[in-house]
C-alpha cells in the first residue's frame, strides 16, 4: 500500500450534493460568478480571473462503487487522487492515463476538469478516453447524470467526455465513473543517447510497430523509453530496442519526475509552454531546449516567447500552444479558436450555464 498524507476521514464517503446544489442555485439567482476549487493543486492552470466566492469540492469525497472485475470505479469529485490510486493499486489496477498530481491535495475532479494526462497518454489514451459517466451540477444548479458504469453507451450526447478539460465552465463535477485497467506486471526503462532528430524518428518508428511501449521522453540528450507488459513481452522488446536499462527504483522515480514536472527541465520560474503537435513533427526551429514527450506529440519549452509566432508554428504542425505555467495569465493562455468555432463553444457554454457563473473567463476571456 502507498502511504498518503491524508487524515483518515478522507477515506469516508461524504456526500455534499445538497449544499453544493444550494450554493450553485443561489449563485444562479444572484448572478454571482463562482470559483470552483478541488484541492487547489492546479490553481495555476488556465486563465487568471477575479476570484468569486469559492465553491469548495474537497469536502465532497469518497469512493461510491468499485468493481475491479467490471473495470470501473465511481467516486465523488473531491476524492484525493492519492486515495483513488491507492485503492486501485490494492486491487492491482491503475488509471491508465497516469495523471499528474501537481500537489498532494489533487482531486480526481480537478484532474478531469483540467483534462491532464501523463506519460502513458500517447500509448493508452487521454483522461477523456477513460470517463464513462458523470453526475454534474449545471449553471442552473440542476443535478444531471450522463453516461453510466458501462463501457459502451451511446444514449444521448457524450456529455461525460465534454466535461473533461472544460475547466469547470460547463458544469460542476459531482461524481465520476472511470474505466480502469490492470497494472502491467513488468516495467522497464531503457535509455539511448541520441540527437533530437533521431529521437523523434525513433519514437515514431516504434509507435508504428507492435511494441509494449508505455512512455517516451527526450530530454535534449537522452531518449528514455518505458516498456510495460508481461515479463516476456518486455524482455523481447528490450532486446529489439537496445539501450541502457535504469534500475527499477530509478525508473519509477524518473517517470514520476517527468509526470510531476519535477525533472530538472521544469525547474525555475521561467514561463512553461506546452505545444501539442502531430507526433512526427521534426524538432522545431526554436531557441532553447525542448523536452519531447508522448511519442513526439508533446513539446515543452521554457522562457518568454513571441506568442503569435509560436502559435502559428504549432498550428502549422497540426496543433496548438498553451502557456502552461507562469507568464501573463490574464491573456489568452490557450490558443484562440477560429471565430465560428469560438462562437459555437460560447453557445455551448450558454447551454449549460446561461448566466455565466461557473468559472467564467478561466478557459477563454469572453466566456
Amino acid at each position: 500500500m502507498v502511504n498518503f498524507p491524508f487524515p483518515t476521514w478522507s477515506v469516508f464517503n461524504i456526500d455534499q450534493t445538497e449544499i453544493l446544489q444550494a450554493t450553485v442555485r443561489a449563485a444562479h439567482d444572484q448572478r454571482q460568478p463562482l470559483t470552483i476549487r478541488g484541492g487547489g493543486s492546479k490553481a495555476f492552470y488556465g486563465r487568471s480571473v477575479t476570484p468569486g466566492p469559492v465553491l469548495e469540492l474537497s469536502g465532497h469525497h469518497g469512493i461510491i462503487d468499485y468493481e475491479p472485475n467490471e473495470l470501473f470505479i465511481t467516486l465523488r469529485a473531491g476524492t484525493p487522487l492519492p486515495v483513488l490510486e491507492a485503492q486501485l493499486d490494492a486491487a492491482g489496477q491503475m488509471l491508465p492515463f497516469e495523471p499528474p498530481h501537481f500537489g498532494a491535495a489533487a482531486t480526481i475532479g480537478g484532474t478531469l476538469a483540467c483534462g491532464l494526462s501523463g506519460p502513458r497518454r500517447a500509448f493508452a489514451g487521454a483522461a477523456r478516453d477513460y470517463v464513462l459517466g458523470v453526475r454534474i451540477l449545471n449553471g442552473q444548479g440542476e443535478i444531471l447524470r450522463f453516461g453510466g458504469q458501462v463501457m459502451k453507451n451511446v444514449a444521448g450526447y457524450d456529455v461525460s467526455r465534454l466535461m473533461v478539460g472544460a475547466l469547470g465552465t460547463l458544469g460542476v463535477l459531482l461524481d465520476v465513473t472511470l474505466k480502469v485497467l490492470p497494472k502491467p506486471n513488468c516495467e522497464r526503462t531503457l535509455v539511448q543517447t541520441v540527437d533530437a532528430d533521431t529521437a523523434v524518428l525513433r519514437m515514431n518508428a516504434w509507435a508504428g510497430r507492435p511494441l509494449p511501449i508505455s512512455a517516451t521522453v527526450f530530454d535534449g540528450a537522452h531518449l528514455y523509453v518505458r516498456l510495460s507488459g508481461t515479463e516476456s513481452a518486455v524482455r523481447m522488446a528490450q532486446t529489439r530496442l537496445g539501450g541502457d536499462r535504469l534500475n527499477d527504483t530509478e525508473s519509477v522515480l524518473f517517470w514520476e519526475q517527468v509526470r510531476e514536472q519535477r525533472h530538472v527541465f521544469f525547474q525555475g520560474e521561467a514561463p512553461l509552454w506546452r505545444l501539442a503537435v502531430a507526433p512526427a513533427t521534426p524538432p522545431l526551429p526554436l531557441p532553447g531546449q525542448t523536452l519531447i514527450e508522448w511519442g513526439g506529440g508533446l513539446r515543452w519549452l521554457r522562457g518568454a516567447r513571441e506568442v503569435s509566432g509560436l502559435r502559428a508554428l504549432a498550428a502549422e504542425h497540426g496543433g496548438h500552444a498553451t502557456l502552461f505555467r507562469g507568464g501573463d495569465r490574464y491573456g489568452e493562455v490557450f490558443q484562440s479558436l477560429p471565430p465560428t468555432l469560438l462562437a459555437l463553444q460560447q453557445r455551448l457554454k450558454q447551454a449549460f450555464d446561461p448566466r455565466g457563473i461557473l468559472n467564467p473567463g478561466r478557459l477563454f476571456a469572453t466566456f
Binding site: 468493481e67 472485475n69 473495470l71 492491482g92 483534462g115 497518454r121 487521454a126 477523456r128 478516453d129 449545471n138 444531471l144 447524470r145 450522463f146 453510466g148 458504469q149 458501462v150 463501457m151 459502451k152 453507451n153 451511446v154 444514449a155 444521448g156 450526447y157 457524450d158 456529455v159 467526455r161 465534454l162 473533461v164 472544460a166 485497467l181 490492470p182 515514431n204 509507435a207 508504428g208 510497430r209 507492435p210 511494441l211 509494449p212 516476456s232 513481452a233 524482455r235 523481447m236 501539442a276 502531430a278 507526433p279 506529440g297 504549432a314 504542425h317 497540426g318 496543433g319 496548438h320 498553451t322 484562440s336 465560428t340 468555432l341 459555437l344 463553444q345 453557445r347 455551448l348 447551454a351
Partner: protein, 488 residues
C-alpha cells in the same frame, strides 16, 4: 418547418448544385431509401440528394436553410435504430458518394477519408504498411465511416482498442447552415471544449461529417482465438469475469447462446459445438512468448470454469472462420424466422445471468424465441427477438418485449443502447434512462449547434412532451416524472 412551401423551386435549386443523377425525387427512385437497417420504420423523403464533394454538401445545406427544410443525413444506411430513416417533407442527404481516401500519413499513422468510405476499406488500405483501424462493427463490409462517427460504433475488439471516439483524430463538419468546422487535429488534443467527443455518437443531429482523420494502430504481431463451449450461460459469464480478474484484457471476448450458435453454424459451418448452452470466443494478441503465456493462463481459467471443449485457432484462416460465425450471427438468426428485432442494451457484466433469465421468462410469456449474442467483455447484449410481422400482433409483441428488456438494462445500471444509437427506435426508452432536466440539457446542446432544429429532427433525444405522455409507465422513486408538465 419540415415542408417547404415550394418544393418544385427547392428541387430546381438542388438540381443545380448536384451532379447528374445526384437528385432523386420520383417515388420509385425514393423507395430504396425509405428505411435504414431497421426496416420496420419506413417513410419517403421529399427527395434524396447525392452530392459527390464537400462543396456540394455545403450548397445543399445552404439551400435547405433558405427553404427552411429539414435534412436527414445518411451514410450506408446500415444503422439499426432508424437514425437515417427519412422524414416526410425533408431532404435525405446521402454521403455515400463522398468516398475518396484522401491521404495516408504513415509518419503520423493516420488516414484522412471522406465519410462514405467503408469501414473495412480503411484497414485494407492501411494493412500493407502494417497498420489498421481498430473499430470493426459487424457490418464493416458495408457500413461507412461517417455513419460510424454518427453512432460511435464499436465492434468485437473495443474492450482493448476502444470505440470510434477513441480512434479518431479530427473531423470536418458542416453545421445545419453549411458552415465548415474543423474539429480536432493531428496533435494529441485541441484547445477549448472536446467537440470531437461531442460530435461522435451525435446521430447526425449536430452536424454533417464531410471528412474524418482516423488513428491507425500497428497490426499485432500474433493473434490467436480460443473457442470454449459451456454447458451453462452462467458458467460462461463467470469465466469472462475470471479472465479479467486475472489481469488479462483480451482483444475480443464474445459470447453466444444456444439458439445463436445453431443459427450461425447452419449459416457459415464454422464448426461451432451445436449442443453447447453457450460459447465464448476469446481473442488474444501480442508477441509470441507473451501470447503463449496468456493462452495457457486463459485455457486454465476456462477449464476451471467448466469449459467442456476448447478449440484454439492459431492460423488466420481458422480464426476468420470462427469470427465469421459471430459476425454473421444477425443474418444467421434472420433465417430462423421471417423477422427479428435486434436489441442493443448494455449491462454490468455481473448482472448477465439474471438478465438472461428474465429474458428467457419473457420469451415464454410472449411466445417469441430469443437468440442472444453478447459482447461479453464490455457488457453489450444483443438479444434478437424472432417474430413474424405478418402474424397478427407479433410486431407489437416483439416491440413490447424489447422495450421491457431495455428498461431492465437501465434498472440493473446499464444503458438502452451500447452502439446502435437511439434513432427513432429507442426514443421511448430514453424517457426511462433520463430525467426531464437531463433531456432538456441535451436539447439545449442541440440548439447550440442547430438553433432551427433542422438536422435530423425528432431523432435521438425525445421531446419532454413525448416522455410526459409515456410518464405513467415510468414512476421513478415513487415520484411522478415530469411533474411540471401539464397533462390533458
Amino acid at each position: 418547418m419540415t415542408t417547404t412551401p415550394d418544393p418544385e423551386c427547392l428541387l430546381a435549386e438542388l438540381r443545380e448544385v448536384l451532379p447528374a443523377n445526384g437528385l432523386l425525387s420520383s417515388p420509385e427512385d425514393l423507395r430504396p431509401y425509405e428505411c435504414d437497417g431497421l426496416s420496420v420504420l419506413r417513410a419517403l423523403p421529399l427527395c434524396v440528394a447525392l452530392p459527390d464533394h464537400r462543396d456540394a454538401v455545403q450548397a445543399v445545406l445552404q439551400i435547405c436553410q433558405r427553404h427552411g427544410v429539414a435534412v436527414v443525413p445518411r451514410g450506408a444506411g446500415t444503422g439499426l435504430s432508424g437514425g437515417a430513416r427519412p422524414i416526410a417533407g425533408a431532404v435525405l442527404l446521402s454521403l455515400a458518394r463522398l468516398k475518396q481516401i484522401q491521404d495516408i500519413d504513415l509518419a503520423n499513422r493516420s488516414l484522412r477519408v471522406q465519410p462514405g468510405v467503408r469501414n473495412l476499406a480503411i484497414s485494407e488500405v492501411a494493412r500493407p504498411s502494417g497498420l489498421y483501424y481498430a473499430p470493426d462493427p459487424s457490418s464493416q463490409i458495408a457500413c461507412s465511416i461517417g455513419g460510424n462517427v454518427a453512432e460511435n460504433s464499436g465492434g468485437v475488439h473495443c474492450l482493448k482498442y476502444g470505440l470510434t471516439v477513441h480512434n479518431i483524430l479530427a473531423l470536418e463538419v458542416l453545421t445545419a447552415d453549411g458552415e465548415v468546422l474543423q474539429i480536432g487535429g493531428q496533435a494529441p488534443d485541441s484547445p477549448g471544449y472536446d467537440l470531437l467527443a461531442l460530435m461522435t455518437g451525435s446521430e447526425g443531429l449536430l452536424g454533417v461529417v464531410t471528412e474524418c482523420t482516423l488513428r491507425l494502430l500497428p497490426v499485432p504481431e500474433n493473434t490467436l482465438l480460443l473457442l470454449a463451449a459451456f454447458s451453462s450461460v452462467v458458467a460462461a459469464a463467470e469465466a469472462v469475469s475470471a479472465i479479467i480478474a486475472a489481469g488479462i484484457i483480451p482483444a475480443g471476448l464474445e459470447m453466444m447462446d444456444q439458439l445463436a450458435i445453431e443459427a450461425a453454424e447452419d449459416f457459415v459451418h464454422a464448426g461451432y459445438p451445436r449442443n453447447a448452452a453457450a460459447i465464448l470466443l476469446c481473442e488474444l494478441d501480442g508477441g509470441e512468448a507473451e501470447l503463449r503465456e496468456q493462452r495457457d493462463e486463459v485455457e486454465t481459467i476456462l477449464q476451471r470454469h467448466g469449459a467442456d471443449r476448447i478449440r484454439i485457432a492459431e492460423d488466420a484462416a481458422t480464426r476468420l472462420l470462427l469470427w465469421k460465425g459471430r459476425k454473421a450471427a444477425f443474418p444467421a438468426v434472420g433465417r430462423l424466422a421471417p423477422d427479428y428485432y435486434c436489441m442493443d442494451g448494455t449491462i454490468p457484466r455481473q448482472r448477465l445471468a439474471e438478465v438472461l433469465e428474465r429474458i428467457a421468462d419473457w420469451s415464454v410469456e410472449y411466445g417469441l424465441r430469443v437468440a442472444n449474442v453478447f459482447h461479453a467483455g464490455d457488457g453489450n447484449l444483443h438479444p434478437l427477438i424472432l417474430y413474424d410481422a405478418n402474424a397478427e400482433g407479433q410486431l407489437e409483441a416483439a416491440e413490447g418485449f424489447g422495450q421491457r428488456i431495455l428498461e431492465l438494462c437501465v434498472a440493473v445500471g446499464g444503458s438502452v443502447t451500447g452502439e446502435h444509437g437511439v434513432g427513432v427506435e429507442k426514443l421511448d426508452s430514453m424517457c426511462a434512462q433520463f430525467t426531464a432536466a437531463e433531456l432538456a440539457q441535451l436539447h439545449r446542446i442541440k440548439a447550440a449547434f442547430d438553433p432551427e432544429g433542422r438536422l435530423n429532427p425528432g431523432k435521438a433525444v425525445p421531446s419532454l412532451h413525448r416522455c410526459a405522455e409515456l410518464g405513467a409507465m415510468h414512476i421513478h422513486h415513487g415520484q411522478l416524472p415530469f411533474p411540471d408538465l401539464e397533462r390533458f
